[in-house]
């Protein structure tokens, strides 16, 4: 029994400590996997925010995007007639969705023409059994055969996903205005089956390999040609930047809290939670000096236990540094607010926290530099995936916060009737949102397809996105990212350390769902979601 407890409570920490470099690798691996989960979850969040629809088809959109990409890269043979039919029909639908009366008329005509040509082609194909719409070379006239390189296939696939968004709006969403959420949800289930079948009919259902030219192998950073000082500088800068970001975020949060309450209600300098963590950190740090030497509470494992306490003290220091940083940010936010509100906000002086905060940041940076120089291994493909996801997230954030279209999107997410009354066209917004979700699906498809091949099971990664959404909240873009990271890191740590210690296999497979279950019990709206208030 005691041994089991030791394995559950102590052994994993000892394992982490004895080889911190390996721990670093596990954590980084988890972060990178988490980013990939987040990418899938992001597609869900976008559509849920703008239209309140849980888009069951997001997973299949990933599959469809990846299939199209691989298909275009492997080479396509299109019959001229079929090509004409498809181009006519899709152009028609795009024009039909527009606001111009003339455009709508032309669009309808084009669509009808496309369908007619396609029907003739299909009919001929059935009568004289030789191939379908896309497939072996032509029935009526010759066909065209082409093959795109990666840089050409990606934009082409983006175009396909945008066209898909137009078609979905035109054929499904338009008839679903003012319907119950569950009806829209059912519609997306229907879309799932259609897209899956359509994608595999057009592109084939065999397992395909997607090669984007980045090997799925480990990089040895210590072999970087950069001089040590440069590596150190880069990582130190990154660590400091993240600390600064956290600081700025907290300052803004405090400011807006004070602005909102017009300075009358003052947010606590350190909330009870921060206070608790700060004290716990301090206790951890001090415990080392009192207990570490002779605290062999598990017989024969004195050395390991001592090590655990040593690590606890470092953990404690990190906690204290974090709390200090938050406290400093709170102080700064209050001062900024005080400048606006005059004497309403009393100034507070916690300058000595600065030293602690900076010390924490430097410690983190030093740790990273040490890890790099002692030869930490990082998967190159996952690193690429993370970089791509980061760029995508930044572009999306700018899109949502800074552009006119982004403002319109946020408006539609909040209130349909009000959005209409200021002249926002719901249909236009839906097309944009589904197109963006399609592009995000393509990014996820490239990454997951490049890792494990393009096949039907790709659509099942949507299942892994569900716990991420439950953790982060269905309506929050940052929530999707942080939820993905928590699950990615959590499942890797659980698998590597607890799995071997307790002797349970494949924790990685169910960890995310167990965590989601806990969240559903205690915080159903997720970490960043809006509180669910049902009015009767």
């Amino acid at each position: 029994m005691l041994d089991f407890l030791y394995n559950l409570v102590v052994a994993p920490w000892v394992g982490m400590l004895t080889d911190p470099l390996f721990l670093g690798e596990v954590v980084i691996g988890g972060v990178l996997a988490g980013v990939m989960y987040a990418l899938v979850a992001l597609g869900f969040v976008l559509i849920y925010k703008a239209s309140g629809v849980f888009n069951f088809a997001q997973g299949v959109m990933v599959l469809f995007a990846a299939l199209s990409l691989v298909g275009l890269m492997e080479g396509v043979q299109v019959n001229y007639v079929a090509l004409v039919a498809i181009v006519l029909a899709v152009t028609g639908i795009v024009l039909w969705s527009g606001e111009m009366a003339l455009g709508r008329g032309i669009g309808r005509a084009l669509f009808a023409g496309g369908v007619a040509v396609g029907a003739v082609k299909l009919g001929a194909g059935v009568l004289l059994p030789r191939g379908i719409m896309l497939g072996a070379a032509g029935l009526i006239g010759a066909g065209i055969s082409f093959k795109l390189p990666l840089w050409g296939a990606v934009p082409a696939t983006i175009l396909i996903m945008v066209a898909l968004a137009f078609v979905i709006e035109r054929v499904i969403l338009r008839y679903m205005v003012n319907q119950e959420q569950i009806i829209l949800f059912m519609a997306t289930i229907g879309l799932t089956f259609f897209l899956e079948g359509f994608g595999e009919t057009v592109w084939g259902s065999n397992v395909k390999k997607l090669d984007i030219g980045i090997p799925d192998a480990r990089l040895d950073l210590s072999k970087l040609a950069l001089p040590g000082a440069a590596v150190a500088a880069i990582f130190a800068a990154a660590a400091l930047a993240s600390v600064a970001l956290m600081f700025a975020w907290r300052v803004r949060a405090v400011r807006s809290a004070i602005d909102t309450s017009k300075g009358l209600v003052q947010p606590p300098l350190i909330g009870p939670a921060s206070l608790f963590f700060g004290m716990a950190g301090l206790a951890c740090f001090l415990a080392r000096f009192f207990v570490a030497g002779d605290a062999a509470f598990v017989k024969g494992k004195a050395e390991a236990t001592a090590m655990l306490f040593a690590s606890l003290s470092w953990f404690g220091l990190a906690l204290v540094a974090t709390v200090a940083l938050l406290a400093l940010a709170t102080w700064r936010g209050r001062r900024e607010a005080a400048e606006d509100h005059g004497a309403d906000v009393a100034p507070l002086h916690y300058g000595w926290f600065v030293a602690l905060g900076v010390a924490g940041a430097v410690a983190v940076a030093a740790g990273i530099v040490w890890a790099v120089r002692s030869g930490i291994l990082i998967n190159g493909f996952e690193l690429f995936a993370a970089a791509m996801a980061a760029i995508l997230v930044i572009v999306l954030a700018v899109f949502f916060q800074k552009t006119r279209v982004g403002r319109a999107l946020r408006a539609v997410a909040d209130d349909h009737a009000a959005a209409l009354s200021v002249g926002i066209s719901l249909r236009g917004i839906w097309v944009i949102v589904w197109a963006v979700a399609g592009i995000v699906a393509l990014a996820a498809g490239i990454i997951w397809g490049g890792k494990s091949g393009v096949q039907f099971s790709l659509s099942l990664i949507a299942l892994k996105a569900l716990p991420v959404l439950i953790l982060g909240g269905f309506t929050s873009v940052p929530g999707a990212i942080i939820g993905g990271l928590i699950i990615g890191v959590g499942e890797k740590l659980a698998e590597v350390y607890w799995g071997t210690a307790i002797g349970i296999d494949a924790i990685e497979n169910w960890f995310a769902y167990a965590l989601a279950l806990v969240f559903l019990l205690f915080r159903p709206q997720g970490l960043f979601g809006e509180k669910i208030i049902e009015r009767v």
Binding site: G103, S256, T260, V398, V405, R407, D415, S421, V422, G423
Partner: protein, 287 residues
């Protein structure tokens, strides 16, 4: 009513002709006609369930009447959706405040400028008069890239419209809550922000759905003052719905009274006040 006010009232802006609206077997509006003239404050009043809000929703394009026509700015309007009505210069507020709760006051009012904000490509296309089918999406796509970069023309455009919005914020005296998410504001201020959003559209016709509902006396007075000032300073035509007769009679140029979906009176406040049908509708039969 003063002489000055008489002079500024012009021709008919919106003519509602014999409108009937049914929801299944329920008749919400039956054969109602009236005219709203340029520059006036026009009120629709009536007891609960008289069809006031339905009437506003018809004008705004949320509902489509089964019978009757609406002429706006001299032409008979085709079946129209709300965002198209907005594009023709009709702005509105809602009975139960419909703001974008996650956004700040400033962002909420900025949404009122969306229809007027164009990127450089779209402006160029408009100037050339080529808003045909292929050009519009193309211009939108080009502008979208500018937007993403938030650079040069896009930023310039944002600043230009921000100035208009800041003037409205000053006008409505809501500077202090500029950066506050509207979900946290008290009800009276939310109504004011909603009015601000409608004003930001620089509408030709402003529809107000019970702007004073749920307010205390002081807030009602503030709101009445804003309505009068908007009408006075910007010359905006205002059509408002109210349940409370007192305030309406003070600020309106003309009043239409609805009861059970039918028009029972139409005229200047004083005439309407004396109308026996109106008294009956509001107070019930005399005993």
């Amino acid at each position: 009513m003063s002489e000055a006010q008489h002079r500024r009232i012009g021709d008919t802006v919106l003519k509602v002709d014999n409108i009937s609206l049914r929801f299944g077997g329920v008749r919400a509006i039956t054969g109602v006609s009236f005219e709203i003239r340029q520059g006036e404050i026009f009120s629709i009043i009536g007891p609960n369930g008289a069809g006031k809000t339905s009437m506003l929703n018809v004008i705004n394009g949320f509902y489509h009447p089964q019978e009757g026509t609406i002429s706006y700015k001299g032409t008979v309007r085709r079946r129209m959706r709300p965002h198209e009505a907005a594009a023709t210069g009709i702005a509105r507020t809602f009975q139960n405040v419909a703001l974008f709760r996650g956004m700040t006051t400033l962002d909420n009012i900025m949404t009122g400028r969306l229809l007027r904000m164009h990127g450089p490509a779209m402006r160029g296309a408009k100037r050339l008069g080529t808003l045909g089918v292929p050009f519009r999406p193309l211009a939108a796509a080009i502008d979208f890239v500018f937007d993403l970069a938030f650079w040069g023309p896009a930023q310039h455009e944002e600043i230009r419209h921000r100035e208009v919005v800041e003037r409205i914020i000053d006008f409505l005296e809501i500077q202090a809550i500029r950066k506050t998410p509207v979900g946290r504001l008290p009800y009276g201020l939310q109504k004011r922000v909603e009015l601000g959003r409608a004003l930001a559209m620089e509408p030709d016709l402003l529809l107000l759905d019970e702007p004073m509902a749920g307010m205390n006396v002081e807030e009602k007075e503030d709101m009445s003052r804003f309505v009068l000032d908007v009408n006075d300073e910007f010359g905006t035509t205002i059509a408002l719905i109210e349940h409370d007769m007192g305030v309406v009679m003070d600020i309106s140029d003309r009043v239409v009274v609805l009861d059970y979906g039918r028009k029972i009176a139409d005229g200047k406040p004083d005439e309407v006040r004396r109308n026996p049908d109106v008294i009956k509708a509001y107070l019930g039969e005399a005993h």
